[in-house]
């Protein structure tokens, strides 16, 4: 779990079964294992009212483990973008009592949270658990472009090409960390680039 450095930096918990009849899970890659672990403490029949939406990692693992939980609905998607319409539809039709569980990478948790916030779920009432890669979704504060899966420090903006220091400063509205030009004074100065978010 990520350490808390500055106040906007999200911190994540451990999924735990909440009271209620409707449970919506969103996970990517190793996030599936957070659901499987939580299932051990879930009361009988918990997954009868659950929907799991899963984006497998490149290795395609964990689909079977989630299906074995026998949720009322199981849906697989190739990317977050591809499941967005479905997620929005589900939340639009949902009633109070729906509980949301987000597990996996920060990019997945943050983007799903962004949609859920718009639907009226308070961020403190969502269950989250970080699993898998530490890769960050980053917004360049200069050109405003968003670069996905940033793993290095500093990182190059995929839009404007500036070399950015990836800050812990996080925007819930954008679901992204802020990237700030690291060599604004002298662009020829290139600090060593290290893998910081494996």
């Amino acid at each position: 779990m990520a350490a808390k450095t500055i106040i906007s930096r999200p911190i994540y918990g451990t999924l735990s079964p909440q009271p209620g009849k409707h449970h919506l899970f969103l996970a990517d890659a190793e996030g599936a294992l957070a659901i499987v672990d939580m299932a051990r403490t879930a009361p009988p029949g918990f997954f009868d009212g659950a929907e799991i939406v899963f984006i497998p990692g490149p290795d395609g693992k964990h689909v079977g483990a989630l299906e074995a939980l026998k949720p009322a609905q199981f849906h697989q998607a190739p990317s977050f973008a591809s499941l967005l319409p479905r997620l929005k539809q589900t939340l639009t039709n949902a009633h109070m009592g729906l509980r949301l569980y987000l597990a996996g990478t920060e990019g997945l948790i943050g983007q799903a949270m962004q949609v859920a916030l718009e639907a009226g779920i308070d961020h403190t009432s969502m269950q989250t658990e970080h699993r898998g890669s530490l890769a960050r979704r980053m917004q360049c504060v200069h050109c405003k472009g968003i670069t996905e899966n940033v793993t290095t420090q500093p990182a190059t903006c995929a839009h404007c090409g500036l070399l950015l220091l990836v800050r812990d400063h996080y925007s819930r509205r954008l679901a992204a960390f802020q990237g700030v030009c690291i060599n604004a004074e002298d662009r020829s100065e290139i600090p060593p680039i290290e893998e910081a978010f494996p």
């Binding site: 909440q18 009271p19 009849k21 109070m96 729906l98 009226g120």
Partner: protein
């Protein structure tokens, strides 16, 4: 001293009987200026000078937050209570100069909500008078369910129906009308916030059902004005000021501390806000915690007490302040 608040010098501009139990009081500033802005759900603490005794009771502001020329509160008469409401009913007349606190809101609307679902019981309607006025002014999406004993005791039910029509749903105990709570809670759109104000039993019922139906606690707001419970008199020593005082049968610990000339912080005087939390230095006896602020663990530890509603039975009690 009420933390974060200063006092307002007001004059009673009108006293209006509403029904057999409830009277409405209007206050204006003595200097003729506008009163401070407040938001729906706010309360003021009214100081009542009753001979030797000063009583301080919190009452919700029920006027529209859009009109600060006057504040209005409604007081339900409690014939077996500690006397504050009786004093208001019997002794407070138009023209009387009084002191009230600045408004404090411990029951505010969460304006991020997509919809506001309000449940009121009895005199618990008063904060909703201001909240509905605030939301109506902003085109807010709300629905109010109001339970009262009989139609004639449905305080302001007619006003609310007139103003908001079908957004108000009434339930009368004498006609055995009950809120279908589970159905109501299960059919609210995502993003709804729930507000409940009324008797403790109603609040507990609603909070319990909401929690078990999957409502996150962040979306459930409640307010209960608990009057301090009477009990056996007891003595208490205040370590900092070195005073030893007696808390009378009908007096709260907070009131006794104030009567002794100590000025402790407070906001709600009902055991919910946490302002008056006090450290216990030593004790020999049993606490009667009536607050909703401290955790069960803190209650058991005997290290803290909320002087606004909690009491003590035993040989000795030393508090920090």
């Amino acid at each position: 001293m009420s933390t974060g608040t200063t006092k307002l010098d007001v004059v009673v501009s009108d006293v209006v009987p509403v029904n057999d139990l409830v009277t409405r009081f209007h206050f204006r500033r003595r200097d003729g200026e506008l009163l401070p802005t407040f938001s729906g759900g706010a309360h003021v603490v009214v100081e009542m000078r009753d001979g030797e005794r000063t009583r301080l009771n919190p009452y919700s502001l029920m006027g529209s937050p859009l009109d600060t020329r006057e504040y209005t509160i409604s007081v339900r008469r409690d014939d077996v209570g500690r006397g504050g409401s009786l004093f208001m009913h019997r002794s407070v007349k138009p023209g009387l100069e009084m002191v009230i606190s600045y408004p404090v809101n411990l029951f505010s609307l969460d304006l991020r909500a997509k919809k506001h679902l309000m449940l009121a019981g009895g005199i618990g309607i008063t904060p909703f008078m201001a909240q509905t006025a605030q939301l109506a002014g902003e085109g807010g999406n709300f629905e109010l369910h109001y339970t009262c004993r009989t139609a004639s005791l449905g305080t302001y039910a007619d006003v609310l129906r007139e103003r908001y029509d079908r957004r108000i749903r009434l339930y009368h105990d004498d006609r055995e009308e009950r809120i279908e709570l589970d159905r109501l809670l299960s059919t609210q759109p995502l993003g709804t916030h729930l507000y409940v104000c009324g008797p403790a039993g109603m609040i507990n019922w609603v909070r319990d059902r909401a929690a078990s139906l999957g409502w996150p606690s962040e979306a459930v707001h409640f307010e209960h004005f608990a009057a301090p419970q009477p009990g056996l008199p007891f003595d208490v020593t205040l370590a900092v000021s070195g005073k030893t005082i007696r808390v009378g049968e009908q007096q709260s610990l907070l009131e006794a501390i104030e009567a002794a000339g100590v000025d402790p912080p407070y906001l709600c005087r009902g055991g919910v806000c946490g302002q008056c939390e006090t450290n216990v230095i030593s004790h020999d006896g049993k606490f009667i915690h009536n607050d909703h602020w401290l955790s069960e663990e803190e209650h058991r530890s005997g290290c803290k007490i909320m002087p606004c509603v909690s009491r003590f039975e035993g040989r000795s009690l030393v508090l920090e302040r």
